[in-house]
Structure formats: C-alpha cells, structure tokens
Symmetry: C2
Amino acid sequence: MELNWVEYIGLAAGTLTTAAYLPQVYKTWRTKAVGDISLVMYTAMTAGVFLWMVYGILLKAPAVIAANAVSLALVGGMLRLKLKYHNAQTPPKP
Amino acid sequence: MELNWVEYIGLAAGTLTTAAYLPQVYKTWRTKAVGDISLVMYTAMTAGVFLWMVYGILLKAPAVIAANAVSLALVGGMLRLKLKYHNAQTPPKP
C-alpha cells in the first residue's frame, strides 16, 4: 500500500494522539491514583474511538484505522484502571 | 453541504470523542486537582489534534475538521488547567 503525503500527516497526527495516552496509562498504572481522572470521559472516549475506527474502515483510510485501533487499546486500558482503582480512593472529607 | 451515511458515523464518533473531554474539563475546573493528570499526555494530544484538523482540511472531510476543531479547544483548555494548577499540588511526602 502506497501512502501519499496527506496520509503521512494523518500518520503523524495519529502517532501523537495515540502515543499521548501512553504516559497517562503509565502514570496511572504506577501510582494507582485515579481520583482526578473523569470516568465519563474514558467511557465516552472508548465508544467514540471505536466508532472512529469503523469510520476509517468504511473510508478505507489507513491512518484513521491504525491510529484508532491502538488508541482503543490504550483508552480501554485507562477505563479499566479507572474502574479498578475508583473505589479504592480515599473518600472525600465531609 | 450534504453528508452521506459514512459521514454520519464520523460525526457520531467525533461527537463522542470531543464531548468526552467536557466532563474532564468540568471536573478539573471544579476541583483544581490535576495531580493524577499526565502533562505529557495533554501536550502531545494538543499537537496531535491540531494535525488531525489539518489532515481533515486536506482530505476535505467535514467530520474530521469539525470534531478536531472543538477537541483542540477542550484539550488545549485541559493543558492550560494542568499548567495552572500543576505547581499548586501538595508535594509528595518524602
């Protein structure tokens, strides 16, 4: 498959927006601290990234497919970490 | 501008992945707590979302342009909140 320069911009974009989740996943995995992380954000993001992947498949846009497949794994991972440590947080003071 | 059904899937995806940041921005704006949020994530995400918008403009893909323009405002807002409250955190115990 040959890519034109527009697809290279898409790949750069996809690399950044996908790799962006890595430091967050690593930080959360290391600290187990999820109090400041929004559960609603990661629930909606997981559903949305899945739909972007479907959109990429329908448009046959390789950058969109690849970036969102990896994003789905990382965002889904964050959602799992949030759910896992959500109830382990120190309850807020009354 | 007329959209076909594939673009509607893109719009649903874009609505979800864009709206996803709203509860996070609201939570962070309300609590001013950014200790569990990754600075590297929001820096890379801001750059990446900007490039996705450029990609959408080059491909003339309305869903990609619209979703990423709004995402850029929200992700950039989170980056500003993180930078603003970053040094106001309680320092970790030795």
